[in-house]
C-alpha cells in the first residue's frame, strides 16, 4: 500500500491554525458559573433555605406574639423610646402606627441583612481568591478561560443567589397572609436583602484583589460588614443621617410595609456596580496569584522564641489576634461614644420603667449589659478560630512534620488553646476599655471605665467554655466542629430574640453567656463564673486526652 501512493510529508497538508475566536478576558464565564453551581449545589441552597426559614418563620410567629394592637404598641414603644434597641435593630420606621409589617421589618431586616452579607462574602471569596490561592484557578486558566472569568463567574453566581433569596423571602412572607404584611412590602423587603447581597459580593470581590489570601480577603470584607452595621447602629440611635453611609442602612431605609420606598436601593445598586468595576480594574493591575502588595524577604534563621512550642503557636496566631484587637477597639470606641446620646433619653418615664424591668438602675447600664454580651460573643469567635488552628494545620498537612518532632501532641494543642483563651480575654479587655473609656469621656463619669472594663472581662469564663468546647470537639470528632459555631449562633439569637420573642428561661440557659452576671446592670456573683470555668477546664482536658488517642488526619 505504502508503495502505491507517492511519498508525502505529513506537514504538507497541515490543519490551518486559526487564531482562537472569542478569546476575551471573560471567555468561559458561563462555564465557570455552571461549575460554581455544581460545586455549591448543597451550600447555596442551604444558605437560601436557612435565611428564608429564619425570616419567614420569625414573621409567622408575630400574630401569636402580639395578638392585639396594644401588644404591638408596647413592643413599638420599647424600640422607639430606647436608643439601645434602635442601635441593635434599626430605624423605627412606622412604629407610631405599629403594624405587624412595621415591627417585622424593624426587628428582622438588619440582622438578616448581616447574614446575607456574610453569605455573599464567603461565597465570592471561595470562588475567587481561595481558588487562586489553592492553585486550582491556575489549572483552569491554563485552558481556554479568560483572565477575569473567575471573578465574573463568582459575581454572577452570588448575584443570582442574592436575587433568588430576595424572591424566596418575598414569596414566603407574602403567602403568610398576615394582616399588614402585604405583597408589595414583602417584595421591597426581599429586594432590600438582595441589594445587600449584591453590595457585599462586590466588597468581597475588591478584598479578593487586594490581599493574596482567601482568609484575609474574607476577614477584610467581614470587617466591612461589621463597620456597616455599627455605622447604621450609631446613625439610628442618634437619628442623625449617618445610616445613609451604610449599605445595611440603605436596606432599612426602604421601610418595607411602611413606605415601601425602593429608591434607597439605587444607592446599593450603584455601589455594587462601582465596586465590581473597581475589582476588575484592580484585577488588571496584579499578577495571577499575587495581591496588590509585593512580599519582602524575611529572616534567615528562626529566633529562640519562635522555635519554642508556645512561641511557634503565637507566631501563627498573632496577626489574626492583632486584627481582631483593632476591630474590637473600633467597635468599643463606636459604642462608647454613643453613651451620651443615651443619657439624653434617661429622664423619659417609659425608659425608666423599661430599665427597672430589665433589673438595671440606669438606661446606660442596661444598654451596656446587652452590648457587652454581644461583643463577648464576637470575641469568642476569635477565640474559637484560634483554638481551631490545630485543625487547619492538620488538614493542610503541616501538622505532620511538626508532630513527627519531639513536640507532644497535647503540648501542641494546649499551646494553641492557651493563646486562644488568653487572646480572648485580651479582646474582652480591649473592648471593655475602649467602650468604658470613651463612655467615661463623653459622659464625664470616670467610674464608667472600671465598671465597663470589669463587666466585659467577666465574660471570660463563658468565652473559655465555648473555646474549650472547640478543643474538645477537635479531639473527639473534628468533623463535628459545626456544633461550636451552632452554639455561637444560638447565643446571638438568644440575645436578640430572647427578649423580643419572650422565649422560656431554659432556652436562654443553654447559652453560656446567659449565666454571666450582666454587669453593670446586674450584681457581680462569682459562682456562675466559677462553674463556667470548671466546665471549660474539663472540656479542655477531654479534648487533649481524645486528641492524644486519635489518628492524625
Amino acid at each position: 500500500m505504502a508503495t502505491t501512493t507517492p511519498h508525502r510529508p505529513v506537514v504538507a497538508d497541515p490543519v490551518p491554525i486559526r487564531p482562537p475566536r472569542g478569546g476575551g478576558p471573560f471567555t468561559g464565564t458561563a462555564m465557570l458559573v455552571r461549575f460554581a453551581l455544581r460545586r455549591d449545589r448543597f451550600r447555596i441552597p442551604a444558605w437560601l433555605v436557612g435565611i428564608t426559614a429564619v425570616q419567614v418563620g420569625g414573621a409567622a410567629m408575630y400574630p401569636d406574639l402580639y395578638p392585639t394592637a396594644v401588644d404591638r404598641r408596647i413592643q413599638a414603644t420599647i424600640v422607639v423610646e430606647n436608643p439601645a434597641m434602635r442601635a441593635m435593630t434599626g430605624p423605627a420606621h412606622g412604629l407610631d402606627q405599629p403594624t405587624y409589617g412595621a415591627l417585622l421589618s424593624n426587628e428582622f431586616l438588619g440582622l438578616v441583612a448581616v447574614v446575607v452579607a456574610l453569605m455573599s462574602v464567603l461565597l465570592v471569596v471561595r470562588h475567587t481568591r481561595a481558588e487562586e490561592e489553592a492553585g486550582r484557578a491556575e489549572l483552569v486558566l491554563a485552558s481556554s478561560v479568560g483572565r477575569y472569568a473567575h471573578l465574573a463567574a463568582a459575581l454572577v453566581t452570588v448575584a443570582g443567589a442574592s436575587l433568588l433569596l430576595g424572591l424566596l423571602v418575598a414569596l414566603g412572607l407574602g403567602t403568610l397572609g398576615i394582616e399588614s404584611v402585604g405583597w408589595s412590602g414583602s417584595f421591597v423587603l426581599g429586594a432590600a436583602l438582595a441589594a445587600v447581597g449584591l453590595v457585599f459580593a462586590a466588597v468581597a470581590a475588591v478584598a479578593a484583589q487586594v490581599t493574596a489570601y482567601g482568609r484575609a480577603a474574607a476577614g477584610a470584607a467581614g470587617a466591612v460588614i461589621g463597620v456597616a452595621y455599627a455605622v447604621r447602629a450609631i446613625g439610628d440611635m442618634a437619628d442623625n443621617g449617618l445610616s445613609w453611609l451604610s449599605p445595611i442602612g440603605w436596606a432599612q431605609a426602604t421601610a418595607p410595609y411602611v413606605r415601601d420606598d425602593v429608591w434607597p436601593l439605587a444607592l446599593a445598586l450603584a455601589a455594587a456596580l462601582g465596586l465590581s468595576g473597581l475589582a476588575f480594574r484592580l484585577a488588571a493591575r496584579r499578577d495571577h496569584g499575587a495581591g496588590l502588595v509585593t512580599p519582602r524577604p524575611g529572616t534567615v534563621a528562626g529566633s529562640r522564641w519562635l522555635v519554642s512550642p508556645l512561641g511557634f503557636a503565637w507566631r501563627l496566631q498573632r496577626t489574626a489576634l492583632l486584627w481582631w484587637s483593632v476591630a474590637m477597639l473600633l467597635v468599643g470606641l463606636a459604642y462608647g461614644s454613643a453613651v451620651d446620646i443615651l443619657e439624653e433619653d434617661a429622664d423619659n418615664e417609659i425608659v425608666q420603667e423599661l430599665v427597672a424591668a430589665a433589673g438595671g438602675t440606669t438606661l446606660t447600664e442596661s444598654w451596656l449589659s446587652v452590648i457587652l454580651t454581644v461583643t463577648a460573643i464576637v470575641a469568642t469567635v476569635a477565640g474559637v478560630i484560634a483554638a481551631l488552628r490545630p485543625r487547619r494545620e492538620e488538614l493542610s498537612g503541616r501538622a505532620e512534620p511538626v508532630l513527627a518532632t519531639a513536640l507532644a501532641r497535647t503540648t501542641w494543642v494546649a499551646t494553641h488553646a492557651a493563646i486562644a483563651m488568653a487572646g480572648g480575654v485580651v479582646l474582652l479587655a480591649v473592648t471593655g476599655a475602649a467602650l468604658g473609656g470613651t463612655g467615661a469621656l463623653v459622659t464625664g463619669e470616670a467610674d464608667l471605665f472600671g465598671q465597663v472594663l470589669g463587666a466585659s472581662v467577666a465574660y471570660a469564663p463563658a468565652l473559655w467554655l465555648t473555646t474549650a468546647l472547640a478543643v474538645a470537639v477537635f479531639g473527639l470528632a473534628p468533623r463535628a466542629i459545626g456544633v461550636v459555631w451552632a452554639l455561637l449562633v444560638y447565643a446571638v439569637l438568644m440575645v436578640y430574640l430572647g427578649g423580643l420573642l419572650q422565649l422560656p428561661q431554659w432556652m436562654l440557659n443553654l447559652s453560656p453567656y446567659t449565666h454571666v452576671p450582666g454587669m453593670p446592670a446586674a450584681e457581680f456573683t462569682i459562682w456562675p463564673l466559677a462553674a463556667l470555668t470548671a466546665i471549660a477546664a474539663v472540656l479542655v482536658a477531654v479534648g487533649l486526652y481524645a486528641f492524644r488517642r486519635r489518628d492524625l488526619h
Binding site: A212, Y213, P295, P297, G298, T299, V300, A301, G302, L306, V307, S308, P309, F312, R315, L316, T319, S396, G397, R398, E400, P401, V402, L403, A404, T405, A406, L407, A408, R409, R549, R550, D551, L552
Partner: protein, 304 residues
C-alpha cells in the same frame, strides 16, 4: 546486628479500605533500606504508623526499641522525617521553618544546616508561600538532615527535586550511611533506590511481598544472556530454567533463572563463545515480577 524497625502483622484499615494488611517489615540498624511500591500500596501509611501519627488496628511495631504510639515524643527526638508532599507555613521563611522543625525535634547542627542550605542552593529568606514544590521539599530535607537523628524516615523525599539536587541528596545519604545512621527510604524512583539501598522491601496491597538485599533478590530472578558462539548453539531449550530463547544463526539470547545460570553458561561454552554479555535483572524487572500480573491484566492479555 540489631534492628531499628520491626513490624509484624501490622493491620490498618480506613473504613472499608485495608491500607496495611499484615505488614512484616524489618530494617537493621545502620542500613539504608529501600521501601518500594506503587502509589497506594501502603508506604506512607506504614511510615505514619512508625511515626505514631496513626495507630495500627493490630500487629506489633517496634521502633528503636520503643512503641511508636506510646513513646512517640521520646522516639521523635531520635528520628527525623521528610514527608513526600511538604506544606510550609505561608508566613514563615524557609530558614525559620528549618530551625523550627529542627529545634522542636531537640536541636540541629547549625554548621551542617548552613552547609546543606548551600549545597541544596536554597534561599532561606523566602516565605513559605513563595516556594515551589521542589524548594518546599528542600526545606524539609535540610531540617531532617541537619539533625543528629539516628533514624531517618524519608517518604519519597526527592519528589520534585531536579537531577542535580537528586545527586546532592544521594551524596548526603551515603554520608549518613557512613556515619552509621539508619535510613528507611520510601520511593518509586528505582534508580535512586538501586544506588543507595543495601536492602529492599517491596510492598504490595499492604503486605511486604519480597524483602532482602539487592544481590539476593537478583539471584532469585532471571539474568539475561546474549552470546555469539562459533557453532550454532542447540539444546538450550531443553535446559532447566531457560526462558524466552531466541536463536538467530550464531547469535543467541535468553533469560535464565539464577540457580540455572551456571549450567546454562557451561552448556553454551561447548559451542565456543565468541562474545558474551549478561544483564542482571534491573530493579524494574524485580518490581515487574511482583506487579506483572496487574500489568498483564491492564494490557488485556495474559501473554508472557
Amino acid at each position: 546486628m540489631t534492628t531499628a524497625i520491626v513490624t509484624s502483622g501490622l493491620v490498618k484499615t480506613f473504613g472499608a479500605t485495608r491500607a496495611l494488611d499484615g505488614l512484616d517489615l524489618t530494617v537493621s540498624t545502620g542500613e539504608v533500606h529501600g521501601f518500594l511500591g506503587p502509589n497506594g500500596a501502603g508506604k506512607s501509611t506504614t511510615i505514619r504508623v512508625l511515626l505514631g501519627l496513626l495507630r495500627a488496628d493490630s500487629g506489633e511495631v517496634s521502633l528503636l526499641g520503643g512503641d511508636p504510639w506510646r513513646d512517640a515524643v521520646a522516639l521523635h527526638r531520635r528520628l527525623a522525617y521528610v514527608p513526600g508532599d511538604v506544606e510550609l507555613w505561608p508566613n514563615l521563611t524557609g530558614g525559620e521553618a528549618i530551625d523550627l522543625l529542627g529545634r522542636l525535634r531537640g536541636g540541629l547542627d547549625r554548621r551542617r544546616r548552613d552547609e546543606l542550605i548551600e549545597r541544596f542552593d536554597l534561599d532561606p529568606r523566602k516565605k513559605g508561600r513563595t516556594y515551589s514544590k521542589g524548594n518546599r521539599q528542600k526545606v524539609a530535607i535540610v531540617a531532617a538532615l541537619a539533625s543528629d537523628a539516628e533514624l531517618l524516615l524519608l517518604d519519597e523525599p526527592t519528589a520534585g527535586l531536579d537531577p542535580l539536587m537528586e545527586s546532592v541528596f544521594q551524596d548526603i545519604i551515603n554520608q549518613m550511611k557512613a556515619e552509621g545512621r539508619t535510613v528507611l527510604l520510601s520511593s518509586h524512583i528505582l534508580a535512586q533506590v538501586e544506588k543507595l539501598a543495601d536492602t529492599i522491601s517491596i510492598i504490595r496491597q499492604g503486605r511486604i511481598v519480597q524483602s532482602g538485599s539487592l544481590v539476593e533478590m537478583r539471584h532469585l530472578t532471571r539474568t539475561t544472556i546474549e552470546a555469539v558462539t562459533a557453532a550454532p548453539a542447540t539444546g538450550l531449550a531443553s535446559l532447566g530454567g531457560v526462558h524466552d530463547l531466541d536463536v538467530d544463526d550464531g547469535r543467541v539470547r535468553f533469560a535464565v533463572d539464577g540457580e540455572y545460570l551456571d549450567a546454562a553458561v557451561k552448556h553454551l561454552s561447548g559451542f565456543g563463545i565468541r562474545s558474551l554479555t549478561s544483564h542482571p535483572p534491573t530493579l524494574e524487572e524485580l518490581m515487574l515480577r511482583h506487579y506483572g500480573d496487574e500489568l498483564a491484566a491492564a494490557n488485556g492479555n495474559g501473554a508472557d
